[in-house]
């Protein structure tokens, strides 16, 4: 299923998210099962299926990481179910250092400042990757798409760091 087609959007990493939300609400209204209350059982079933599709499509395209994965999936590259090992030593060293910093927050003198600093570092790094990724995902060449896949894998590690940092931040308030 091509979710960009479903929402009448040009396949791209940089999409207009306001437009996506607008199209989502339009589609949601059009296929809402309540509208099919007096229809045949088959039409009701189809409405339920369409609603699920529209919801899946929206959540896939809303999140930049899953949007990028969807673009590659449309090009025949499945990153969702792969179990590839990343061996980029420099990148992994940086990941290791950041994981160590996350551990240090608990016994830091100023945990709030450290959390803010880490958020900023993660942001800068992820934004850098995202900028390169946007260009590569417009390409149709095999090597560009392979490079895009590598960047998406890196973004997955960044997403993990982000989740861990959010968890630690929440724990600070408890």
């Amino acid at each position: 299923m091509n979710y960009f087609e479903l929402f009448s959007l040009t396949p791209s990493y940089d999409i207009d998210t306001a437009l996506l939300a607008e199209r989502y609400h339009e589609l949601q209204r059009a296929v809402h099962p309540d509208k099919f209350a007096n229809s045949s059982e088959q039409d009701k079933r189809i409405a339920v299926q369409r609603t699920a599709q529209v919801n899946d499509g929206f959540s896939t395209l809303k999140d930049p990481l899953s949007r990028a994965e969807h673009i590659l999936a449309l090009a025949g590259i499945d990153l969702r179910h792969e179990s590839t090992t990343v061996k980029d030593t420099q990148f992994l060293m940086q990941q290791m250092e950041w994981r160590e910093s996350l551990e240090d927050i608990a016994h830091s003198e100023d945990p709030d400042a450290m959390i803010a600093e880490l958020y900023a570092s993660f942001n800068v790094y992820s934004n850098c990757i995202s900028q390169d990724l946007a260009g590569l995902l417009l390409s149709h060449s095999e090597s560009d798409l392979a490079a895009a896949a590598d960047l998406i894998r890196k973004l997955k590690f960044m997403a993990k760091l982000q989740v861990e940092l959010e968890r630690i931040e929440d724990a600070q308030f408890d």
């Binding site: 992994l92 990941q95 994981r99 590690f157």
Partner: protein, 127 residues
């Protein structure tokens, strides 16, 4: 999901956690990561001039199975030659720890860590 007793044992009492001095010429490092779960694994081996693994240390950020897999391989590779260590298969690790199918990738990561460390050894030998 229930972890096996062996996984819990390695998780609660991980063997050989830590780092060697990376400037020590006999130390080689294998760094690997799994994008699917964000796990990061570092395996360091101390190798003598006969190509025997004297000592091993690891540091892993990941789930219990990933920590247990890396802890186990540090025990296994000690005293082995490079060739013997290279022959360790993820299926051996998964079997020893009784890993469920969804955690097999943790054992693959550990096997890849050994391979990455051996590659580092070979590239250092070539210099």
């Amino acid at each position: 999901m229930a972890y096996s007793e062996k996984v819990i044992d390695h998780y609660e009492n991980p063997r050989n956690v830590g780092s060697f001095d990376k400037n020590d010429p006999s130390v080689v490092t294998g760094m690997v990561g799994a994008p699917a779960c964000g796990d990061v694994m570092k395996l360091q081996l101390k190798i003598d001039d006969k190509g025997m693994i004297q000592d091993a240390k690891f540091k892993t950020y990941g789930c219990g199975s990933a920590i247990a897999s890396s802890s186990l391989i540090t025990e296994w590779v000690k005293g082995k030659s490079i060739e013997e260590a290279a022959a360790i298969k993820n299926t051996d690790i998964a079997e020893e720890l009784a890993l469920p199918p969804v955690k097999i990738h943790c054992s693959i990561l550990a096997e890849d860590a050994i391979k990455a460390a051996i590659e580092d050894y070979k590239s250092k030998q070539a210099k």
